[in-house]
């Protein structure tokens, strides 16, 4: 019984703080069709704590998910010798476009592959579009 009362008081205080911090703008302009969810900024119970947690967890996860992909992009600009050697602060940031130059030389046939993929992709898209929009009499 005591805990229930306690949590009700907590909920009430949380509601009052959020309405104070959000101000009247969020209330006077309710967006149509948008349903706010648990954790939403427009949710009456959005608190400063929740926003802080969102910022910390969001930045942390974004680093974990984004940095490896960024490193992969950086690797594309490094010379081969830098990639296979133990990285140091001086060599890791030596970037160049030599890898791109070498793959676009005619002997690498990268362009042939790109053109072939393009042909396959466009043909598949066109055929799919034609087949999918066949006369409705077959339905």
């Amino acid at each position: 019984m005591t805990t229930t009362t306690q949590s009700r008081v907590n909920a009430a205080s949380a509601r009052s703080t959020s309405s104070a911090s959000l101000g009247a703008t969020a209330r006077t302009r309710p967006r149509r069709g948008w349903k706010h969810h648990q954790g939403s900024v427009e949710h009456p119970r959005d608190t400063r704590l929740k926003r802080t947690l969102f910022a910390i967890a969001g930045i942390g996860s974004a680093l974990i998910f984004g940095v490896p992909l960024l490193v992969a992009i950086l690797r594309a600009f490094q010379p081969n010798a830098v990639i296979v050697a133990a990285p140091t602060w001086t060599t890791f940031w030596s970037f160049g476009v030599q890898n791109f130059e070498s793959i676009f030389t005619p002997s690498q046939h990268l362009l042939t592959g790109l053109v072939n993929s393009l042909i396959v992709a466009i043909t598949a898209a066109v055929v799919t579009a034609i087949v999918a929009t066949l006369p409705p009499s077959l339905d």
Partner: protein, 314 residues
């Protein structure tokens, strides 16, 4: 199609002749009309699904090489299969791998969905970032990991050395348990974005009135999460679990690129084993038999999941 069928059904019911015991025959719509309507679909299924399946069953009963002549050998492929300890080992390894990665994928996907489900500033950017590894694809990511897992030069080792966890010379890919651990972490990182998208969509379809009622009752955030969100998205979680388990049972790309099943056959998955049988040893008959065993294993596991995650009647 369905509307026409419904119409014809309605019309034919008024002109049915004969007693109820006899076959129901429509005068206006003879059976051959229905047959003609389903024939294209039927031909398609027979030619592209049933016929290849029957041919595959036949191939699994022969000693079919990739090139050259073959002859019928009955169930010899299947008998040999169950006497081969390497095949059993690869099944065991695949089940172990599935057991390790499934729960982290679903839990991390759920956590990411909680993070980005609300309309906050930056939530859309975060959604994109979390889903990016899935879009880039396992093949590309695996090649990147080959580079970054090299002893002393790869960034995995460099970062672990900076954090004083290892000395930075770990050869991840030539040690069975280490390679398994690395691949598991990598896969959880790479594919939990899909679970996030599925779970987030389900979370956003929960009506807000439910949460409003709960918060009026004084339910805490965790109570709302446990008693409202989780039960209401149960079906989607079940779907993510099934997708994740099926994907793990059929894992091939990451193992093929990172370890080639090595060292020895310590990290050989079932699909890797079948691939070796078919395209390295060129024994297509035996490989097809193995593929059928795999189909049965995946089917049994999925059927068990459907049973375990079914909608329970209260």
């Amino acid at each position: 199609m369905s509307s026409i069928l419904a119409k014809s059904a309605g019309r034919s019911s008024s002109v049915i002749i004969g007693s109820p015991r006899k076959k129901r025959v429509s005068l206006t719509h003879p059976p051959r009309t229905g047959l003609a309507l389903v024939t294209p679909a039927l031909v398609f299924v027979v030619v592209f699904v049933i016929a290849p399946l029957i041919i595959a069953i036949y191939i699994s009963l022969t000693n079919w090489p990739l090139i050259g002549s073959y002859h019928f050998i009955g169930f010899e492929n299947y008998i040999k299969l169950f006497q081969d300890p390497a095949f059993g080992k690869s099944i065991g390894y695949t089940l172990l791998y599935t057991g390790i990665v499934t729960v982290p994928i679903v839990v991390l996907g759920y956590f990411l969905a909680v993070l980005v489900r609300a309309k906050r500033r930056g939530a859309t950017v975060l959604r994109t970032i979390f889903f990016l590894p899935y879009v880039v694809g396992l093949t590309t990511l695996s090649f990147i990991l080959v580079l970054e897992a090299q002893p002393s030069s790869g960034l995995v080792n460099v970062i672990l050395k900076l954090l004083n966890i290892t000395d930075g010379t770990t050869a991840w890919l030539v040690n069975g348990p280490l390679a398994t651990g690395l691949i598991c972490v990598f896969i959880v990182w790479a594919v939990s974005g899909l679970t996030m998208v599925l779970v987030m969509g389900a979370m956003q379809s929960i009506p807000d009135e439910v949460y409003e009622a709960a918060s009026l009752e004084g339910a805490s955030w965790w109570q709302q999460e446990r008693l409202i969100t989780m039960p209401m998205i149960k079906n989607t979680i079940a779907l993510s679990v099934i997708i994740s388990v099926t994907g793990s049972l059929l894992a091939f790309t990451q193992f093929y690129i990172l370890t080639q099943g090595g060292p020895g056959n310590e990290t050989q998955t079932i699909v890797g084993y079948i691939y070796n049988r078919a395209f390295v040893q060129l024994q297509l008959g035996a490989a097809t038999a193995e593929a059928f065993v795999l189909i049965i294993v995946v089917g049994l596991v999925t059927a068990f999941q459907f049973w375990a995650l079914r909608e329970k009647k209260s």
